[in-house]
Symmetry: C2
Subunit: 221 residues, 2 copies
DNA sequence: ACCAATCTTGACTACAAAATCAGGAAAGCT
DNA sequence: AGCTTTCCTGATTTTGTAGTCAAGATTGGT
């Protein structure tokens, strides 16, 4: 059996609940890698080590399994996020930097999230609408609001806040999502813990700082 | 009939060649939006205004149609690129900046490219291998080499060149690929020509500059 | 140990989409 | 015009996958 963050759920609940959790974990992995239609129920079943029919016992249909897997992911992420509370009175730019740090760390721990957003965010449709409604919308709007404040406080270059937010996230998730490309194109392997830390450094030090308004430097000749 | 950049091909060649071009254009649009499996031959046929069987007359199977559409896209892009030749003796950083400008412009004109790379680059598999082999590999390695030179010349912060290249491209294509997300999440509409120019500004001025090593700015003109 | 509820499965159905094919229309040549 | 090649289509077959179902296995309570 595959081991990942959802495997913890195997320890609790009734047998059915444990199997359902295993199915959700397998489904999330497949859906996020292959997208919804490329993923088959049979594949998920095999990965979870149960029969295909078991999937339909625990979940009404494929779409509902997808939503269930997403909610599961969201719950795990929310729990990890709660651990960190941004200081309310800090400058917007600092809250934003903190949010980006968190985003990168969570993206490494839960690569499925970024992949799903990329897949559905390109395609549009009802699954995207569901994601925006249930998981992404508030969070993104909050970040955009934060970016707008940071601009107003003179700390960010004055680009459209929504664009800043989406671009930052796309940049941060890019390397993580595109591991297969990195491997196929450059022969680079998946990252160790040290590599992840270096990646976080890169995003903050390079990409994020690119948006930062360096008043002192710019007023220089 | 849908009009796009491939429609030009309608003017030349035999009747069959013109129909094949129309099919490739329709296929490219669908494949890049929906991904390979979500796209059906029937849909492509309807979009191209021919019968489903006609697709199998011109192309052996779905996979070959996909490859053919990609080659078509690559040919168009290559032609546009050829118009611009980077000065050989310029500093690597300037060549890189020029390449990014080109990348953003081409990405706006051919949004299918970025979507395909994102889709297949996340999933891995034989289509990705084909893409790397036939149209991405050399180009990306050349860019990485350029980034490495720029680092050696002290113009870029010393992050791994492959990571810089992929992250820059992910950041630049992010907004373009994720238009449906922008719309669903923020209600923002597709971009006008002015919006595209502004986006290019943002990528170069913010993201690209984030990677630039500012120490050298003082010593440079 | 027994029972009832919960869970799981193999076998099956329904359906959508890819691929094939024989027949016929259109284009191009002489 | 007559002939040949190229092109296109409707009808059909094949294949892969989602979803159903009745029967049997497992689990947990008493």
């Amino acid at each position: 059996m595959k081991v990942n963050f959802l495997t913890a759920a195997l320890q609790i609940g009734t047998k059915g609940e444990r199997v359902a959790a295993r199915i959700r974990a397998a489904a999330l992995e497949q859906f996020s890698r292959q997208g919804f239609e490329r993923t088959t129920m049979g594949e998920i079943a095999r990965e979870a080590g149960v029969s295909q029919a078991a999937l339909h016992y625990h979940f009404q249909d494929k779409a509902q399994l997808w939503r269930s897997a997403m909610l599961d992911l969201a719950a795990h992420i929310a729990e990890e996020e709660r651990a960190i509370t941004a200081a309310r009175d800090a400058r917007a730019i600092d809250q934003l930097r903190m949010a980006m740090r968190l985003f990168v760390e969570i993206s490494w721990r839960h690569p499925a999230l970024g992949r799903i957003v990329a897949l559905e965010g390109m395609a549009g449709g009802e699954r995207l609408a569901w994601l925006v409604e249930n998981l992404l919308g508030d969070r993104n709007r909050r970040l955009a609001h934060l970016a707008a404040r940071a601009i107003a406080e003179g700390d960010l270059k004055p680009f459209p806040p929504e664009q800043i937010v989406v671009t930052l996230q796309a940049a941060a998730a890019g390397l993580i999502n595109l591991q297969p490309l990195m491997r196929a194109n450059f022969g680079v392997l998946a990252y160790s813990a040290a590599g992840r830390a270096a990646h976080l450094d890169m995003i903050l030090a390079a990409v994020f700082d690119g948006f930062v308004n360096r008043k002192t430097e710019e007023t220089r000749p």
